[in-house]
């Protein structure tokens, strides 16, 4: 009995002598890093500049029942079946919220290859969500994103061409309704990257330009974005420990005089991931994903809007990878 236990768990090596008394060496602070200005790291893509803040503060909250089943036939090919029974909000003149129960079944097929990714989802009402990502060369990637509906003039599509350089990334977008956009982001230092984007909407003859900056170290990520459409968006994420990070977000729209600020937390624990946020619009939300077993996840979603007196509670299960 005792011998089997000692074989199963080898005791960790204990520190001996003076090493116990002295504090561990702090390598990061003592060593000044020599910055290699010719070999800066590649920045994150422009649309993911606020990725950490969006992941923590904007979980996919839902209302109702959600059941997802993913069946893998192959390492690269899988089919997914998804059932959603919830309610849809109808716009109403008065301050009351009108909700109509809706339900749909969604069938999806995924093919994931390192060079080619195809994801398609079709709903019971005939809508198709298609995503294609293809690596044309080592540095050039083509992404296609489309939502096709049976109703005419409601379909949307977007083509993106991404080019990744040594310390910069650039993207060119073509969308329906004659939408053209381009963005460029460059690493200025090992921690700081600056980017810019322009877009042009053909049918409405609107154009815009925006600037973004991102500063990230191991512990913090701070981003700021300004656009000629009158929006200013700032975000700050602090990684308090391996399991906990706190995020805050500020958005200001000059044209509609709309200000929103939110604070949130993100706990990534061994068996679950808990995200919660508090908003300046009086919205409190929480999202829990608990891993019950290998491949079985239980999801709880809650959102309370104190200003509109609207509550949304949802629960669901995800089976499969």
């Amino acid at each position: 009995m005792g011998s089997s236990v000692s074989h199963a768990a080898a005791p960790p090596p204990t520190a001996v002598g003076l090493a116990v008394a002295l504090p561990p060496k702090q390598d990061e602070k003592a060593e000044p890093k020599n910055v290699d200005w010719l070999n800066l790291p590649c920045p994150v893509p422009f649309e993911e500049i606020q990725r950490e803040a969006s992941m923590s503060l904007k979980p996919e909250l839902f209302e109702g029942l959600k059941f997802d089943f993913t069946k893998g036939l192959n390492q690269r090919f899988s089919l997914s079946h998804s059932i959603f029974m919830g309610s849809m909000e109808l716009p109403s003149q008065s301050s009351d919220t009108f909700k109509v129960p809706t339900a749909h079944y969604e069938f999806g097929a995924n093919f994931l290859d390192p060079k080619l990714m195809l994801v398609g989802r079709v709903l019971t009402d005939g809508r198709l969500n298609a995503r294609v990502k293809c690596d044309l060369t080592d540095n050039l990637t083509l992404k296609i994103n489309a939502q096709l509906t049976n109703e005419p003039h409601f379909s949307q599509g977007m083509f993106n061409f991404d080019y990744k350089g040594t310390d910069y990334r650039t993207q060119f977008q073509i969308g329906n309704n004659a939408f053209y956009g381009a963005n460029y982001i460059q690493s200025i230092s090992p921690h700081l990257s600056l980017g810019t984007e322009i877009f042009w909407l053909g049918h409405q003859r609107k154009s815009g330009i925006g600037f973004a900056a991102r500063y990230n170290t191991d512990k913090i990520v701070a981003t700021g974005q300004v656009a000629s459409t009158g929006t200013v968006a700032l975000s700050y994420v602090q990684k308090v420990s391996e399991k906990v990070s706190l995020a805050s977000d500020f958005m200001y729209n000059h044209l509609t005089q709309d200000v929103t600020s939110s604070f949130g937390y993100d706990y990534i624990l061994r068996q679950c991931r808990l995200r919660g946020k508090l908003d300046s619009n009086g919205v409190v939300a929480a999202f829990l994903e608990e891993r019950l077993n290998m491949g079985v996840n239980f999801i709880l979603s809650a959102e309370v809007d104190h200003r509109k007196k609207d509550y949304k509670f949802g629960f669901g299960m995800t089976v499969g990878e």
């Binding site: 192959n74 090919f77 097929a109 093919f111 195809l118 489309a146 096709l148």
Partner: protein, 72 residues
């Protein structure tokens, strides 16, 4: 003189017909491209998911046909 005038007249007439030809050619192109976009949208709408399934069923290791329908 007359011989010089007539080629100019012919040029003008030629240019006029070319311009109208260009306009109708552009209109034809636009009509054809709209028709092509509509057909492409219908083909994508019906054929995208079968395309993914065909590509997936032909990738290595080849899955069996019954695995498409059974829930196991």
């Amino acid at each position: 003189m007359a011989s010089k005038v007539s080629p100019k007249g012919k040029e003008k007439a030629g240019k006029g017909s070319k311009a109208s030809e260009e306009r109708s050619a552009a209109k034809c192109d636009k009509e054809w491209s709209t028709w092509a976009m509509k057909k492409a949208k219908v083909i994508t709408h019906y054929g995208f998911i079968p395309l993914i399934i065909i590509i997936g069923m032909n990738s290595e290791p080849k899955p069996q046909l019954y695995q498409l329908l059974s829930p196991v």
